[in-house]
């Protein structure tokens, strides 16, 4: 089941029937065409280091100051006004405008982890143990200061809706590995420990295909009911009945194909058969009964709850094993404008052990090298406080100028920290990583040149990385 065969499966995924027809007119058999494909795909221009991406999206924006970006000197500046030399009249949110900005240091301890002594907050003890596999980025920065545009920017490279998401680009550019499963799957946590107060919404455009053909959009797995919408046969229809139904439908479709001549009918037949196969392959994917106790335990107690982040991490590992190209997890509840210490603790509990387990588990199975894991939110949080402004009770506003996240596996160096922020974790002072740079790096690891993966739409050659120059962050590649 482990999908190694890129080739024949890519046919009905990547090619439209028009292209197939044209290919066959050129005398290329399906097999010949298949082998032709990856080399000729404009997208894949160099050998890939990774085959899969697991993007752990922390929707709502975790505080870098309390998790990753250690600023011990801030302790002495508690409730001091933030110097204007630092803020430089930057845009702020409607929540902060007109208010004074007072520094609030983190209340959490930081420890050095791994051989290279990377600083990690005490809230992330499991992740700290994986420090030698982490590439900590402290210098992410974005343009948007509000959630919706910022999330759209991170996921599609543009603040405005209508563009294609990361996973859709990869599906379009690289095609599927396993023809019986979608090549881009989205898993949203059904709950989170940080409470319901600091939550933001999601939108299907975050995993949409935008201007790309919609078959490249992410398939969102559901927590309850069918993981894939409308997957199960209705009550009273078992697989024997469904098989017979597809046989009569297929027989008639084949007859009509001969009479009408439109190859689209052949595509319909193929897709109905794939739907039938998905009725087995998806339940097999989500059935955890074959997992050992040890494997389950690795992810922590929450793994037993349907819809937990931990469960979704385990599912992501199973998807990688089965050849799913791009898996995106959305975990909400990070928008800590108030009571941050309490709620951040809950959020960290959700993701710490599970994401550490994911790294470990993939490594143990020899899959970490070919799987790039990204952990990031849509922006960071401010050094100035909101809410109570106590040492142990505060909140933080949105902050686009710098934020932290990490990468692991997929040909990225472990045990390193990249990017430097100023003493207030306010501005990037060295080694900036813009969203488009992250996108370019991600594509690069999958063997794709971000300049060449493009699609003509509305008069432009659209790219994930947009029109501004983007840079592959070579320094972090192993």
């Amino acid at each position: 089941m482990k999908g190694e065969t890129v080739v024949p499966s890519a046919l009905d995924q990547l090619l439209t029937r028009r292209q197939l027809l044209q290919a066959s007119r050129m005398g290329l058999g399906a097999t010949a065409l298949g082998t032709l494909l990856p080399q000729n795909a404009k997208a894949q221009t160099k050998p890939a280091k990774a085959k899969h991406v697991i993007f752990l999206f922390m929707a709502g924006a975790p505080s870098q100051l309390d998790l990753f970006d250690y600023k011990p000197d801030l302790d002495k500046q508690f409730k001091q006004p933030l110097p204007e030399s630092i803020t430089k009249g930057q845009r702020v949110t409607a929540m902060t405008r007109g208010k004074e900005q007072f520094v609030v240091p983190t209340m959490f301890k930081f420890n050095q982890a791994g051989e290279n002594g990377i600083w990690v907050s005490e809230l992330l003890p499991h992740l700290a143990k994986q420090a030698d596999r982490l590439c900590m980025i402290k210098s992410f920065n974005t343009n948007a200061i509000n959630h919706d545009p910022a999330k759209t920017f991170m996921c599609t490279g543009s603040e405005l809706p209508g563009k294609a998401s990361m996973g859709a680009w990869l599906s379009y550019g690289l095609g599927a590995i396993n023809r019986d499963l979608p090549d881009f799957i989205v898993l949203n946590s059904a709950f989170w420990t940080g409470g319901t107060r600091n939550v933001q919404g999601l939108y299907s455009r975050l995993w949409g295909s935008g201007f790309l053909p919609s078959k490249h959009q992410g398939v969102k797995f559901q927590t309850n009911g069918d993981p894939v919408l409308f997957l199960s046969n209705p009550n009273g229809v078992d697989s024997t009945v469904r098989r017979r139904m597809l046989d009569i439908t297929g027989d008639l479709n084949r007859k009509h194909l001969e009479e009408i001549g439109d190859a689209e009918i052949a595509t319909t037949i193929a897709q109905q058969e794939m739907a039938f196969r998905m009725q087995s392959s998806v339940p097999e994917l989500t059935d955890l009964s074959g997992e050992t106790q040890e494997a389950m335990d690795l992810y922590g107690p929450e793994v037993h709850k349907n819809g937990s982040f931990a469960r979704n991490c385990l599912l992501a590992r199973r998807m990688v094993e089965r050849g799913v190209r791009f898996i995106q997890l959305f975990h909400r509840g990070w928008d800590h404008h108030s009571i941050l210490p309490k709620q951040l603790r809950g959020q960290a509990y959700d993701v710490d052990q599970a994401s550490a387990a994911l790294i470990q588990d993939l490594a143990a199975r020899g899959l970490l090298d070919e799987t790039l894991i990204v952990f990031a939110g849509e922006f960071g949080r401010t050094v100035y406080g909101q809410g109570k402004l106590a040492r142990d009770d505060y909140g933080r506003d949105h902050h686009p100028r710098c934020f932290s996240g990490w990468l692991a596996g997929g040909g990225i160096q472990g045990g390193m920290s990249y990017g430097v922020t100023d003493d207030f974790s306010y501005n990037v002072v060295d080694q900036p990583v813009a969203i488009r740079d992250l996108h370019a790096t991600l594509l690069h690891q999958l063997g794709v040149n971000h300049e060449q993966l493009s699609f003509p739409f509305q008069g432009l050659d659209q790219k994930l990385t947009g029109v501004e120059p983007a840079r592959v962050i070579d320094e972090i590649l192993s």
Partner: protein
Amino acid sequence: MKSIFKSRFSSELWLLFGVSVASHAVILPFSHGAEQEIGFNRDIRPILADRCFHCHGPDEADRKADLRLDQLDDQGHTAEMLGGGDAETSELIERITSSDPDVVMPPPDSHKEPLTPEEVDRFRLWVDQGAEYESFWAFTPIQKPEVPALDAEGDTWALNAIDHFVARRHVREGVEPSPAADRRTLIRRLALDLTGLPPSPDELETFLADESNDAYEKIVDYYLKSSRYGEHMARYWLDLVRFADTNGIHHDHYRDLTPYRTWVIRSFNRNLPYDEFVRDQVAGDLLPEASDDQLTASGFNRLHMIIDRGTMLPEESLARNVIDRVTAVGTAFMGLTVGCAVCHDHKYDPITAKEFYQLYAFFNNLDATPETGGRSGTDFQRGLQPPYIELPSAEQRQQRAEIEMQLASANGEHEALKKWFAANPEKTSGETEATDTSTKDGAEQSETPSKQDVSAERESKTAKLEQLSTQIKSLTDRRNRLLLEIPAAMVMKERSERRPSHVMIRGAYDQLGEEVQRGTPAFLPPLEMANPGEATRLDFAQWLVSPEHPLTARVTVNRYWQQLFGVGLVKTSEDLGAQGEWPSHPDLLDYLASAFVDSGWDVKSLMKLMVMSQTYRQRSEASPEQYAKDPENRLLARGSRYRLDAEVIRDQMLAVSGLLKEDIGGKSVKPPQPEGLWQSVALPSSFPNRFVADEGDNILRRSVYTFWKRGLPPPQMTILNAPAREECVARRERTNTPLQALLLMNEEQALDSAKTLAVEICLNESPDSIADLYERITGRLPDESERQMLLSALSDFESYYESNPNLAAELVRSAGGEGIEDERLAAWTMLVNAVFNLDIAKTRS
């Protein structure tokens, strides 16, 4: 060899095979005559636009080497570069053919494809022939072309002017048109194209039996008169203007624009002339004594996504709203990507950033907050944000007047009593009589009642006050409940003092450049003002639909053509600018556009003209080779065949099973969808945050009425390529995926439709039942072999269910059909399910 330059529609193929392979595989939207005469617009401009305009186009800021190639410049640089007349000495030819990476154009680091040898040849010919520029076709005035003369054979085939243009191309390409489709195919095609529903059994029977010469025209007129027509036409329009039921950003709250939708439906049914249709949407509010309809139409300006108050800065929200509004006007009415000029001069079309903000200036004066606000109150619950107009029914108007009257009287009494209490404060025990004597009101003082009387009066007044409070509360509740029922339309309204507009540098709302006045792009006809002084939005609307406007009519007829033939004459129906595709039949497009304007922008006449053509009536069966040669049917040598839209597929299942409820207009409805979808994305505090399906007739209405949450639109629709309605969509794509197969196999309402139809069949079962079923869904009768296949499947289902009676009972539970054996009903249900899933059932042919 056929013409082989790169056409945009084959982009995916290009990606895979590169230029040289694609060149003899692609069907082009046009072809060359044998004479090899090069036309700038057709042959040269698309290549220049794709490879060169980025650095040598209209955008002055990014122009390299001070050279522009989109037109001749005033200084003569362009002409010098081209060296018109002799390709051998032309620098342009040298640059595009050079092997030196420092010399060759486009430069390698631009990541633009180098020119193919064939493209270079074309440039050589063009330069040899004098390198003459032409104005861009879509920006030149529309002139009605001559209808081409045909030879005798063509004349016999052609039925109207459309066919003459189409046949001319057939002759040039050496293809033969297909014979007319049979009547069954024709009526299904017509019914689906004009009403979005399949023909009813009665309609089918009548048409098949009608032997008169004008039988076809009669059925065309019949469907054009059907009120289903307006619903179907509206659906395309609603994609174009991004109509939805939530605000789409941040909380994604409820936002009710449904009176606008009802207006669109009624306007199509009334055949409101298209120029008025456009004018009322852009500026209905500015018409003298604007009617409720015209005000409702101006709600077009309120359809954009809009953030709710709290996180974004209002000035940024304002700018986003206006940009969205202007972009929509560009796409919907002009087929122009004006949004490209938000940050810089347009790279391909002659629209400067300044001109964009001159358009912006028409639309930045809405008298409303730029963000929706408030989480309570009836406006919030009604999904409204001022300004809006109430559209109560007569009954609602009366009810409301009554409540308001009672409320006014109760409030009056209440006020009076409160005044009395203010004037007669209750004495606390320590106070003396002396306080009373100090009362200023002499009259009252003279009649000072006894202590006991006062307390009795006070008591009764207190009781009355309480009673009034209760009454006021209850009346207010009643009024608010009534308000929730009363439709209200958000409208456009100008502020009294005009907001100034500036160029926004690189599109940033807080980096303002020069102030601009309202105006239209210089390359389009001049704007005429009704009154001297400043141009109004109404002037702009009139300008859009003036007969001289080169784009409005072209864009519109092209979209209706796309609706009936699957692909527009210009495939890129959202973009008729320089990056759009060259039309497959330019003269036909101009003929239709001018006929449309001449007819007084009569949409029904236009639709009729198109469906009456022989071109439209051709059969779609063809050889696989013909399909392969022209997969998108750009040559129109057969009837088009394409998958039905999501809404039509669902409506068809409800219609053929008799479940469909046919009321027109009204609020959006929520047919069932799988549980938990909204929760998985919604903010807990968004309104509403949970999907609760409607019940009864509401779930059986046409899909055009389905509630559209932008954050997560109904999956039954989006799986079949319906857009999220976040931005303007002029054409949907059509894919064919396993998720679609699963939807049609297993979705609740698809299955309910199958069961309902199965019950009807079982109650009237006859030897013809198989044929009836097949005909009902596909419009065709099964031939003998199809009948046998279906019969054998039916008997297999039946015997399987006989040996698994529990399974049968589960399937048909709550299906109704008293007295029908479970096994038989289950077997028929599965047979209906199978026919619903046929390719020919979900396809219009």
